[in-house]
């Protein structure tokens, strides 16, 4: 049984008492501690900047050419905070409640409560940095609504909220780089974690321009390396998103929690062909003003303007009258799949539903819609060649976010002491389904406000600079990394890494996507090893490993996906219930909603690696619901 080390006391006081109990480190000593932060997205950049401000020596790593290009840059819709600026009844407790319920009662209460508490400080911090949030005429901040909530608590910067928040954090990071507290290593990929006497003490990296492998030692290591959505090949994630850092840490002993909790987002532009390299999200914020519908009749091929109102099925409004088009993502996605499975989908292959703005345009005028969503409408028009002001958008669900990640305790430390995990890379706050606008909130809460405290309280017990990079674990790690690169380069087969990645994606989407069954999962578990075997026989990586080689980077990430996918499916198989985004067809209510099994599965599953070819061990962390009563989720 895993222990999350949650402080005692009433939920509202836990974080304050944690902070009170942690002893500050003498400023002169802070400089002696070296902290490695892998990843410079919202979580990593905010953490590194804040640690630098406190006086720690920090090194940051990212695989892009600049910290500013981390995938957080692509977040569109907004960030939640319990400010209650709208006076519509929001509060820390309500945000806490919505997030626990939205996560289908599979997240840890204490973490989520802290997240809700810290949410208000995030907005203050970002505004002070000069993040240009949307404003009202009075000069105050504007808000909008997101799925799974009845209050308006989402702060936004047009459709580029992630970009603006990340540039704020990047600015804070740059300030520390200039001050000399942070050293930045762009185009440098973490290849392995160095664990010495059970503690995380460094990383092995590859310089992506020269191929040089190097060990970086530190007093603790922070992973903020994002999610693993591209294990499905097609997703709304950037094409470089990967599982390498977290998976390799897992192979070094860190537990991987709930890998089967993956989020399929309801509103993405449908796939246009086999050439597709990624799918594009149309922000959930669009559902504030867009109405989702399909024809009432199966196989109705008339153009949408010829389908009279009475022959349209606004299925979300019909099935979930109180939340309507703002039903949470997992529910909206499944509803879309259902109507398409019934033969009522629209567009090529019948895999699409309409997202229609004509009512809002009539009611509010095109200008208002442009001001709210202009860039999203433009993006849609560029990709599809259609004008969404005139014809409804066509959308379909796509893989978007991964709630699973490395297991962490209340202090965001994994079971390996000295290894901290932040942002999308950890598992903690979103349970089985993440609500919109809450990943940005979590990444920044983790980085700005939680980690600086918890790292300090860990380092209080650590002697700085104790390990040298001549340790056997370090030289061994360098050798292993070198060997695995040589192995990839020497196959010289006939297919690109993408070829295998696409094959894997097909299996994952069909057998472990929006609906899963015991049989489909068993099928996936027998197919994945075959693709992996084929990969190692037949992958081709041209060029040299001592040079800038994007194919090598890709091959090494695909190799990890090919192993990790099995863990994901195994977790999905063993979780014999439906919850949030994990929908097992065998476990559903009469009206087709996810049916949880609280008696047997009200726990986190955390997997321990046991060696290649061995079945990993499934550990459990029981989830206690002391502040919110377990209930069947209803959005009706």
């Amino acid at each position: 049984m895993l222990n999350a080390s949650i402080p005692e006391g009433p939920i509202a006081d836990k974080w304050a008492s944690y902070c009170d109990a942690s002893k500050p480190i003498n400023p002169a000593n802070k400089r002696k501690y070296h902290v490695i932060v892998v990843g410079t997205g919202l979580a990593g950049a905010s953490a590194a900047a804040s640690l630098g401000e406190l006086g720690f020596r920090v090194s940051t790593f990212c695989f892009q050419d600049s910290p500013r290009r981390a995938h957080s840059i692509a977040a569109q819709g907004g960030i939640n905070a319990a400010k209650n600026y709208k006076n519509d009844g929001d509060s820390v407790h309500r945000l806490f409640y919505d997030t626990i319920k939205g996560g289908d009662f599979r997240s840890r209460e204490a973490n989520v409560y802290r997240l809700a508490q810290l949410s208000v400080k995030i907005i203050d911090q970002c505004v002070a940095q000069g993040v240009p949030f949307a404003r009202e005429y009075g000069g105050l901040l504007d808000n909008r609504s997101f799925g799974g909530s009845l209050v308006s608590r989402t702060f936004y910067a047009r459709g580029q909220t992630g970009q603006q928040l990340l540039l704020g954090a990047y600015g804070a990071l740059n300030r520390q780089i200039a001050a000399g507290t942070v050293k930045s290593y762009p185009r440098t990929e973490m290849q392995d974690l160095v664990v010495i006497d059970g503690q995380a003490k460094g990383i092995i990296t590859r310089d992506l321009l020269t191929g040089e492998l190097r060990a970086h030692m530190a007093d603790c290591v922070v992973l903020a390396t994002g999610g693993y959505g591209p294990v499905f090949y097609l997703s709304t994630n950037a094409v470089g998103c990967n599982v390498t850092a977290t998976y390799r840490a897992y192979k070094k002993g860190a537990f991987f929690a709930n890998p089967c909790y993956t989020q399929i987002h309801p509103t993405c532009i449908p796939q246009s062909g086999d050439h597709q390299s990624k799918l594009t999200l149309m922000s959930e914020s669009l559902r504030n003003d867009g109405r989702v519908w399909v024809p009432l009749k199966k196989g109705d091929a008339r153009p949408q303007e010829q389908i009279p109102e009475s022959e349209r099925d606004y299925y979300l409004e019909r099935k979930y009258p109180s939340y309507g088009n703002l039903a949470p993502r997992d529910i909206s996605s499944r509803a879309a799949k259902q109507v398409c499975d019934e033969g009522r989908g629209v567009g090529p292959g019948g895999r699409g539903v309409y997202l229609d703005f004509s009512d809002s345009i009539k009611r509010l005028g095109q200008d208002v819609i442009t001001a709210r969503y202009g860039n999203l409408f433009d993006m849609y028009a560029k990709i599809t060649g259609e004008n969404p002001y005139q014809t409804p958008m066509r959308i379909y669900p796509a893989v978007h976010y991964t709630m699973g990640g490395l297991w962490v305790d209340y202090g965001l430390m994994s079971n390996l002491p000295g290894l901290f995990v932040l942002g999308e890379a950890n598992f903690s706050d979103h349970g089985a389904n993440r609500l919109g606008a809450s990943a940005l909130m979590q990444g920044l809460a983790d980085g700005y406000f939680v980690l600086p405290y918890t790292v300090a309280s860990y380092l209080n017990h650590v002697k700085p600079g104790a390990i040298k990079n001549t340790d056997a674990q370090v030289t061994g790690g360098l050798r292993e990394t070198h060997e695995s690169i040589v192995r990839l380069m020497s196959v010289r087969g006939k297919h690109s890494p993408d070829y295998f990645h696409r094959e894997l994606g097909k299996i994952m989407w069909n057998d472990c996507g929006m609906a899963r069954t015991e049989q489909s999962l068993k099928n996936a578990l027998s197919e994945i090893p075959k693709i992996r075997e084929a990969f190692w026989k037949d992958v081709c990586v041209p060029g040299s490993s001592q040079d800038y080689n994007p194919v090598l980077e890709k091959a090494s990430r695909v190799a990890d996906f090919l192993e990790f996918a099995e863990l994901l499916c195994l977790d999905a198989l063993e979780r014999r219930e439906s919850c949030g985004g994990h929908f097992r067809e065998e476990f559903q209510t009469e009206d087709g909603e996810a049916k949880r099994d609280d008696k047997n599965f009200s726990h986190v599953a955390a997997w321990e690696y046991r060696g290649s070819g061995q079945k990993p061990t499934r550990h459990q962390e029981e989830l206690a619901f002391e502040n919110i009563a377990l209930a069947q989720r209803s959005y009706k």
Binding site: S50, E53, Y137
Partner: protein, 246 residues
């Protein structure tokens, strides 16, 4: 729409010290729904299966926001569609049989790494020189303590939309980075939060820009024309004003 058969003339160069040259490729059966980068993916996939090094180019988000993709297409950074990055440019804008010329950004301050990939870390160093508000974590007042006029917030946003791709530099005959630097200066000049450090910021960023070897601005406005976020040269005028005041 039917499939396109295209010819590519692509700049190939092993690294910054070797000599580069154009190489011709066929790109047959291209779907008009593909993005420009997906078209290159198809060409590359074929090269890889022949154990040849694919055309190196950068991309990540593939939705026009990260600023990674960077290539000159038929003489224009990101191609001729206005307000569009290469990753958002779709093949329906090309004609069957057309020859497409693809080159890297060319500027002294952006040394070439390989093929279409250049080193843009000069942009990071300019931001490090002063592109921020000096506020430590945890020290901020309540967000509503600072009122911002809606028009100012909008102007700040228009400038802040910069994705740091470098097309402005690539388009400019002087390889000037004024649009890039101006966008950060303008963002913070329109916000009360940026006020206390405005003089220091303008001076430091301009000095770093010069030190990196970017050229000066002679108002040819090519930068505005190619900017995928359509940032206006208003920000350059504002940068000049802020710099003069500093």
């Amino acid at each position: 729409m039917s499939l396109l058969n295209l010819k590519l003339r692509v700049w190939r160069q092993k690294n910054g010290t070797s000599k580069g040259a154009f190489v011709n490729y066929d790109a047959p059966n291209i779907s008009p729904d593909m993005s420009f980068l997906e078209m290159l993916d198809v060409v590359n996939e074929k090269l890889i299966t022949q154990n040849q090094e694919p055309i190196a180019f950068e991309s990540d988000c593939r939705e026009g926001i990260c600023g990674a993709c960077s290539m000159v297409i038929n003489g224009i950074p990101h191609g001729k569609e206005r307000g569009t990055t290469a990753c958002q440019l779709h093949m329906r804008h090309f004609k069957n049989g057309e020859t497409i010329v693809i080159e890297p950004w060319r500027a002294r301050a952006f040394p070439l790494i390989k093929d279409l990939v250049v080193d843009r870390t000069a942009f990071d160093r300019i931001q490090q020189a002063g592109g921020f508000v000096s506020v430590n974590t945890g020290s901020a007042p309540d967000a509503h303590a600072i009122l911002v006029h809606k028009d100012n917030a909008e102007k700040a946003f228009d400038a802040a939309a910069c994705i740091g791709c470098g097309a402005c530099v690539a388009a400019c005959k002087n390889a000037s980075a004024m649009l890039f630097v101006g966008s950060k200066i303008s963002q913070l000049a329109h916000l009360p939060q940026g006020d206390p450090e405005r003089k220091r910021r303008a001076k430091a960023m301009v000095m770093q820009m010069d030190a990196e070897g970017f050229g000066s601005c002679t108002n040819t406005l090519e930068c505005e024309a190619v900017c995928p976020k359509e940032i206006s040269t208003r920000v350059i005028a504002e940068l000049n004003w802020e710099f003069m005041r500093s």
